[in-house]
């Protein structure tokens, strides 16, 4: 039996169709006009003890909803979840003892109190013995330098420091499973790297199973061997991270701001690139936000420097940014058969 067993899991929400305006708002009071949103729609997977699994997808894919069902907050509308052979929402309090959860956008720490007080409260909640507590705090201190933050009020911590504290706090009671929901959201590169290192080390030291939801491919690349990609409540891919990486790791999006941009510019760019690198180079050109044109390339086929060079010499460019491929593009390419 695997540690986490999810079979044909579904969660449907009924959402009231809201009408416009004040009159509409009044009519909504008596409206029975609901539509069903399938946030999770038939997902299955098994996760073994000690794994780190990346659970990824674009915004609104159903990642957090799945996590909330696995942690026993939400009741599934269909299918089954078994964690350690128990149904999470049936015996929530017992199940809670074996898991740790971090919701990236919220904190489990006490806002008004010094950091160490939150750890002391968690120690009591999970009935951690003083000896284990001291051991763990020593370990966290080595990893994060937690001691320096002990006396600081949580509200005065930076987002990155708070996240480090939140993650270590979720490991305090030595849970079998830790759910990390968007732990690196809104953080800059250096702190992201630090957080990844810590997650990795805690996983190795404790053999803790970690489920990581994110929409940053970099997190998954750095941490897990296995990745589950979902979109619109359905599973698109479940397998080796290397394969996903091999396909998308080499993709880069070159964002350029073209001087005197007009309707013809996109086509001109497309034609120029096709002329230079051949028509089958999988280069896509699109405008996703005002003033910026995205050129997505596969570095394995076309060197970034050459594309940049080509664009710079043939067009008048105001500004350039290079970013990793967005989750939405990955999903689109999977739909188009990239991983088939």
């Amino acid at each position: 039996m695997s540690l986490i067993h999810v079979n044909n899991l579904a969660k449907h929400f009924k959402v009231l169709n809201r009408r416009e305006g004040l009159g509409g708002a009044f009519r909504d009071l008596f409206s029975g006009d609901y539509r069903t949103v399938k946030a999770v729609d038939g997902i299955s997977f098994d996760i073994e003890a000690g794994e780190i699994v990346g659970y990824i997808g674009p915004n609104g894919a159903g990642k957090s909803t799945t996590i909330k069902m696995m942690t026993g907050i939400l009741k599934p509308s269909g299918g089954e979840i078994r964690i350690n052979d128990h149904v999470p929402f049936e015996n929530r309090i017992r199940q809670a003892q074996i898991m740790g959860v971090v919701f990236g956008q919220r904190t489990q720490l006490w806002w008004d109190l010094p950091v160490i007080e939150s750890f002391k409260i968690l120690k009591e909640i999970y009935k951690v013995s003083q000896k284990t507590f001291d051991e763990h705090m020593g370990m966290f201190n080595e990893l994060v330098g937690l001691k320096a933050l002990y006396s600081q009020q949580v509200r005065t911590l930076s987002l990155g420091q708070r996240m480090l504290c939140d993650i270590t706090a979720s490991f305090l009671h030595n849970p079998q499973i830790v759910f990390l929901d968007e732990p690196t959201i809104g953080l800059d590169i250096s702190i992201k790297a630090k957080i990844r290192t810590i997650i990795k080390e805690l996983n190795t030291a404790r053999k803790t199973t970690i489920i990581l939801t994110t929409h940053d491919l970099g997190d998954v690349e750095a941490l897990s061997h296995r990745v589950i990609i979902i979109d619109k409540g359905k599973k698109l891919y479940d397998g080796d991270t290397k394969k996903v990486n091999a396909l998308f790791g080499a993709y880069r999006t070159l964002k350029v701001q073209v001087n005197d941009f007009d309707e013809g510019t996109l086509d001109a760019l497309k034609n120029k690139l096709a002329e230079q690198f051949g028509a089958t180079n999988k280069i896509t050109v699109a405008q996703t936000e005002e003033f910026w044109t995205d050129i997505t390339i596969d570095q394995a086929l076309t060197p970034l420097s050459e594309v940049l060079n080509c664009v710079m010499t043939n067009f008048s460019i105001l500004d350039v940014r290079i970013v990793e491929i967005a989750m939405e593009d990955v999903v689109q390419r999977i739909y188009d058969g990239a991983l088939a």
Binding site: K68, I73, K75, I93, W110, I121, I125
Partner: protein, 263 residues
Amino acid sequence: MRKYLAFTRGSFMVGLVYRFGPLLSLIGNFIYLGVAYYLWHSIYKNSDTLRSMTFNETFLYVAIGSAVFILLKTYVDWEVSYEIREGIISTYMTKPLDYQTYILFTSLGQTLMSLMVITIPTLLIITLVFKVAIPLGMGTLLFPLSLLLAFVISFCFDYFIGILAFYTESVWGLSTTKEIIILALSGALIPLQFFPAKLQSILLLLPFQTIYHTPLMMLTKPDQDPQIFVSMLIVQVVWAVVLYALTRLFFEQAVKVLRIAGG
């Protein structure tokens, strides 16, 4: 139990962080006591006792009543509705905690804080500034116990209003209404003896009077027949148990909204 006491300790410490809040409450209460003193003084101008209560007893009742009011005002309704609306409740539901007990013990911490910085100074003000003697007796000894029960009963009303946030987005109006109902019907502002006899007998059947009237009577008339005190405490215990159980059932029902409709 120990794990919940950690929350009591935590919220007590939060109270210490915001130390100026209680000071302002104390100043506000002092002004209120001054007004109440002269108001009741003029009411008692022509007679020593009204409705079997002396001026001393009535003023003591009103003064301690105002201190108890601050003591019981732990904003549980605001806190709970905020946690529900912002989805913070999810964080607690992933922990091995019973939500109601957790909130109860958290608000207990605030109450203990107020007890220290408001109730005890108010008692000192009453005896030292207004020179009103506090009578002692059996009731004085039972007062802390009665106050604790009053705290639980008051908590249940607040908690109930807070949970309504699962259904309504805002509990502002409900919370204000609750406040007014309790203040008016519990004998918090005016001792129940001053109400018309018919109304009095109805109010004694409702739970509100067990929040203010019961503990305050123990303190202002502490030398009554012990039998009376015992029956007062029994009424309090019954209401505390019934209301705690009812709000608990209501939470189990309301949380399904979250479980089914999402956080």
